[in-house]
Amino acid sequence: MKRIALLGMPNTGKSTLFNRISGASARVGNWPGITVDLMSAKILMGGHIAELIDLPGIYDLHGFSDDEQVVRHFLANNALDLVIILLNSAQIDRQLSLVLQIKKLNLPCVLALNMSDEAKRAGITIDAHSLEQALQMPVIEISAKYGDGLPKALQAASNILNQVQQKPSPNTIRQLLEEDNQIEHEMERLIQQHVQIPTSLSNNATDTLDKILLHKWLGLPLFFLAMFLLFQFIFTAGKPLQDGLAWALDWLRTDVLEIAFASTPAWFHGLMLDGIYNGIATVAAFVPIIVLFFLVMAIVEDSGYLSRAAFLMDALMAKMGLDGRGFVMMLMGFGCNVPALMGTRVMRSRAMRLLTMLVIPFSLCSARLQVFIFMIAALFTAQQAPLILFGLYLISFITMFMTALLFQRQYKSVEPFILELPPYRLPTAKQILLRGWLEVKHFLNRATKFIVIGVVLVWLMTNFPSNVAPASAGTYAGQVGLLFAPILDPIGINQELAIALIFGFVAKEIVVGALAVIYGMQGDALMAQMATQIDWVQAISFMLFTLIYTPCLSTIATLNSESKSSAFMWLSIAWSLGLAWLVSFVFYQSARMLGF
């Protein structure tokens, strides 16, 4: 009895073909060398009774899946007279490898090209005749579903069975498979140890995903939803990390450093703890958020979605001289400006990158939000609060767009906006973690010195001369506040608020704490005190100024290190201070003119 195996990749219609040829005679049987059951059927072919075996669908004869081992063991233990290989014509470019692997074993083969109708619809034309000569085996186009071409294929199979020919014994096949296997094993080992390959989705999956994610009307809402979820993730996961870090830094200060420096002179104690240690703590506070931000960025970027976001947002952004990727960074800036600035590195054009970096510091980051929530709680009712907060977010967006529009001529990008849309890929964990770590290292290297010096300077200004109370009007900071009174009075900012703004230069997180020191009280008492000291017009003017002027020392340090230009850093500082003053001035003076 002749033995014929049916072999092909999964989902090529192999079972359909098997059922069509075998009719109702199929049975489940055991085979030497393998542990799973295979379907087989006795059929009449070319005057012989032949047994047709349906082998499991495999991608690769040398693969490591269970099914691939089953096929190998079957071939190495059972003599075959013929192999019918079934391919999906629409994917012939990919599937032909399996044919060549079988051909290498010198087994007599017939190649059946299934789904030729689908291939034709996809515009794929296969010259079966010339392919037949190149492969030296019959090549027949069939439709397993409808039976087209099947008689021709069976005829070709019968012809082969009727030829008296040399066929390899299972032992020879076993040797061939083993030799090839060693190469495959060697290759697998090398790849696993030395190469990282992200899992890439097939083009079909990419096309389907694109149909949804780049949809004319769904694309943008989905983009905003994705951004919102990522944002939520960064800050939900970041909060406990930041709290934990803050707790650890606090513990180190009170339980270790305070004791260690207890006997040192007051100025030295202050310099070490309030100056240098606070500076280091400020730097450290950014670490969790930078790691998380870049974990998410690595996913967005390596998955191929960043280029898609650029496609969706480009129409709007192009009008401001920016591109779609810049918008993703602008949105990220609403969490924290520092990693958003670092993220602009994906832009290849320096001009566009600088313009984006000039815009990002105006996004209302989570640290500024803390200040606003405190001020709003102190001076406004619960009904007014959401409106005021919404207004601040709106102004944040307006200042960003305005800045881009004003400066787009100075930072005109000459590079064309042409991006490749890669297929969607799942980034590997190692890739993501490595990215987060590298970015943190980069930030620490570049920004630590700058931030520590800045914090020490502010400490000096708010604690000296030493004969006055810290952060009071008598300190250097108070004197600077007084010096700037002619500028700050027209925007309703008094000397106390001016000192708070000087603190805010370091980080917005410490503004509320600074107000507590300045007024010498905390919590509700501080809120009540502030409500008697300033009115709502002053409060809004203060918030506008806080929103628009330089976000923090870390942002400045990052601007400096990322642009590698101190001139650019100074431009950013000057522009944001100037704009902050102008906006506050216009608001404060018009409100006063209207009689508020």
Binding site: N203, D210, L214, K216, W217, L220, S307, A310, F311, L312, D314, A315, L316, A318, V414, E415, P416, F417, I418, L419, E420, L421, P422
Partner: protein
């Protein structure tokens, strides 16, 4: 003859000519835009946004202004 920027979604054609200054020309050819190559327009972004073009197995996004430099012969 049509400009790439004038194609409808789903339409395909063959590149006839690329008339661009050197930097754009180089960038385009690096991404596979060469005379004689077939391409198809997959989709257009809303509000006159960029085009999503497929060249062989590569998908590319480019702006209308740049697509206007590419002449295609539609089939």
């Amino acid at each position: 003859m049509q400009l790439l920027s004038q194609l409808e979604s789903g339409q395909s054609g063959i590149i006839l000519a690329i008339e661009a200054e050197e930097s754009l020309f180089h960038r385009l050819s690096a991404l596979g835009f060469r005379v004689g190559k077939p391409l198809s327009l997959i989709r257009r972004a809303n509000f006159n946004g960029p085009l999503h073009v497929r060249l062989g197995s590569t998908d590319i996004v480019l702006r209308i202004a740049d697509a206007m430099r590419i002449q295609v012969n539609t089939r």
